[in-house]
Amino acid sequence: MPEQHFDPDRAVAGTGMGGTMDLGVDEAETLERAPGGPEGPGPREKPRSLWSDAWHDLRRNPVFVVSALVILFLVVISLWPSLITSGSPLQCDLAKAQEGSQPGHPFGFNGQGCDVYTRTVYGARTSVAVGVLATLGVAVLGSVLGALAGFFGGVGDSVLSRITDVFFAIPVVLGGLVLLSVITSNTVWPVIGFIVLLGWPQLSRIARGSVITAKQNDYVQAARALGASNSRLVLRHIAPNAIAPVIVVATIALGTYISLEATLSYLGVGLKPPSVSWGIDISAASPYVRNAPHALLWPSGALAVTVLAFIMLGDAVRDALDPKLR
C-alpha cells in the first residue's frame, strides 16, 4: 500500500505558496558523465565529511553566495534599520500622500503620506523575525516529534501520522484566517505561533522519514547489535544523517513562511497597522494602485527578493548536501 501520495511539502502551500520540490537548476548535470569514464583512481583528496564537503561546494556556488549575501544584508538591516535610513516608519505627513520619488525620499510616499523607503526597510524586521522564529519553532517541534516517532515506531508513530494527516487536510490560509481573526494582540507572536502549529507536521514527516532510513543503515544495525544505547545510537549515528534533509526543508520553508506572514497581513489577520509589515503596506497600497503604484511595487519587490533568497539558499544547500547528486 502506498503512503499518501500528496506532497507533504505542499503543507505550507495553502495559498499555493512555497514547498520544497525540486528547485535544482542543474541537479542531474553531474550525472552526465561519459560511460565508463573516469571512474579510475586519480589523485584522491583526503576524505572529508558530508558537511565539510558541502561547505566546500557551497562556497563555490554563486547562487549560494548571492542569496547568502542578500540574507545577511536583510538580517543586518532588520537588526539595525537606522544604518540605512534616518526616518521613522510611523512618521507620516498626509499632505504628501501618494507623492512620487523626490530627493531624500527615493521610493516616494504611500497613501498615508509615509515614506515608502523607510517603511520598506523597517518591514524587513517583521519578515525576518517571523521567518526565523517560526522556522526555529517548526524545526525543533517537528523534528523532535518526527524523530521520536521514527525511532520508536509503534502506536505513538501511528497516532502522530494520523495527526499530521489531519493538519495537512486543513487549508493553511483558511486556518490562519479563522484562528488569527479572533486574536487582538498586534505582535508577531500569534503569527509565529500559528505557523508553528500548522507547519510542524511537514518537518515531522521529513524527520521521521530520514530517521527511519538512517535506522535501517547497516552500520546502525551493527552498532545496535554491539549493544549501543538508544541515546548513543541517536546522537552518534542517526542524527548526523537525518539532520541534512531537515535543514534543507527548513531553509526553503523559511521563505514560504515569510510569504505566508505577508499573505495573512494582506488579508488583515496577520499583523495590523500600526505594525510595519510588507504585507500590510501592499494591502494598504492596493486601493491607490492607479495613482501610486510605487507604494505597491517597492514592498512587493522587497518581499519577492527576500523569499527568493531563502528559497534559492535552501536549494543550494540541498544540492550540496545530497550526496546522490555528486
Binding site: 499555493g16 520540490m21 494520523r162 487549508p171 490560509v173
Partner: protein, 307 residues
C-alpha cells in the same frame, strides 16, 4: 483493489473528524459564535443567553460538534449571518470556485506540461535556463503580489481585462484569476515535468526505443511522456484540494464571490456555521482528491498494485 478503496475510505474518517473538529474548536472556542448575530453591536446579556440556549451553545463543545456533524450529514449546514441557509450560499459559491479551479488546472496541464517537456528536452539551453529562472521567480513571489501586479498591468494600465469580476463570474472573466491561482502550482508542474523528462530521457528504456528505430516523435510521446507524466498527473490531482482552499486570496484580489469570499465574510461577521460548513466541504474535497490520486497511480503505473 476494492478492499484497498474500503480501507482508504475508513482511514479517511479519523482524518476528516480530526480536521473538522479542529476547525470547529478554533471557531467556537476562540471566537464568540453569537457576536455576529445582533448586528454590529454586542448582544445584551439576556438576548445572548437566549441565543446560546437556542443554538445549544451552553452544552459542552464535543456535544455541539456531534450535533453539528449530525445535522451536516442530513444536509443541514445551518444558517448564515443574513438568515440565508449555508447550503444556499454553497450553491452559489461553489460553482464559481470550481470554474476558477478548472481554469487553473487547465493552465497547469497545458502550459505547465508543455513548458516542462520543452525545457526537459533542452536542458542547459537558453530556453531552459530562462524558463527555470521564471519559475523560480513565480514560486518566490507570493500569489497575492502576482495577482495585484497582473491586475495592475492588464486591468488598470493596459485595460485588457476588467480588474474585478462580476458576480456571475463567467469563464472568460475568470481567465486571469485562474492564471493567478495556478501560478505557483504551474511553476511546480513545469519543474516537476522538466526533472522527470530529463531523468527519463537518459533511461535505458528510452535508449531501447531509439535502438528499435522508432521515430523521435514516437519515442517522446509514447515512451518518454507516458512514464514521465505519472508524477505530474498525480501532483495535479492532489493540487485540486489545495487550489480550492487557496482560492481565497485570488478571490479577494479580483472580488470574486466564491468559496473564499463566503468564508471571509463568515469570519468577518463571526458566523460559525458558514465558516465551519464551507471548511468541512473543502476538507472533504481535499481527502477525496487524494484518494482519487492514489487510485489514479495504480491505473497509470502497472507496477503498483494495491493489496
Amino acid at each position: 483493489m476494492g478492499r484497498y478503496v474500503v480501507r482508504r475510505l475508513l482511514q479517511m474518517i479519523p482524518v476528516f473528524v480530526g480536521a473538522t473538529l479542529l476547525i470547529f474548536l478554533m471557531v467556537n472556542v476562540m471566537g464568540d459564535p453569537i457576536a455576529g448575530l445582533c448586528g454590529e453591536r454586542r448582544c445584551d446579556p439576556a438576548t445572548a443567553a437566549r441565543l446560546e440556549k437556542e443554538f445549544g451553545l451552553d452544552k459542552p463543545v464535543w456535544q455541539q460538534y456531534l450535533t453539528y456533524m449530525g445535522n451536516v450529514f442530513t444536509g443541514d449546514f445551518g444558517t448564515a449571518f443574513n438568515g440565508q441557509e449555508v447550503t444556499e450560499l454553497m450553491a452559489t459559491a461553489f460553482p464559481v470556485t470550481i470554474r476558477l479551479t478548472v481554469i487553473a488546472i487547465l493552465f497547469e496541464v497545458v502550459v505547465g506540461i508543455v513548458l516542462g517537456v520543452v525545457t526537459g528536452l533542452r536542458r542547459g539551453r537558453p530556453v531552459d535556463t530562462g524558463v527555470l529562472l521564471l519559475t523560480l521567480v513565480v514560486i518566490s513571489v507570493p500569489t497575492f503580489v502576482t495577482g495585484l501586479l497582473l491586475q495592475l498591468l492588464l486591468g488598470v494600465k493596459w485595460g485588457w481585462i476588467r480588474p474585478s469580476v462580476s458576480s456571475e463570474a463567467p469563464f472568460d472573466e475568470l481567465i486571469l484569476p485562474g492564471l493567478v491561482l495556478a501560478s505557483v502550482s504551474l511553476a511546480y508542474v513545469t519543474r516537476l515535468t522538466r526533472t522527470s523528462i530529463a531523468e527519463n530521457r537518459r533511461s535505458d528504456y528510452v535508449r531501447t526505443a531509439v535502438a528499435k528505430g522508432l521515430p523521435r516523435r514516437r519515442v517522446i510521446t509514447r515512451h518518454l511522456l507516458r512514464t514521465s507524466l505519472i508524477p505530474v498527473v498525480t501532483f495535479i490531482g492532489a493540487d485540486i484540494g489545495f487550489l480550492m482552499g487557496g482560492a481565497i486570496v485570488t478571490e479577494r484580489i479580483f472580488n470574486i464571490h466564491g468559496v473564499g469570499y463566503q468564508i471571509y465574510q463568515g469570519i468577518l461577521r463571526q458566523n460559525t456555521q458558514t465558516v465551519v460548513g464551507f471548511v468541512t466541504v473543502l476538507v472533504l474535497v481535499f481527502l477525496v482528491a487524494n484518494l482519487v490520486v492514489d487510485l489514479l497511480y495504480a491505473v497509470l503505473d502497472p507496477r503498483i498494485r494495491y493489496a
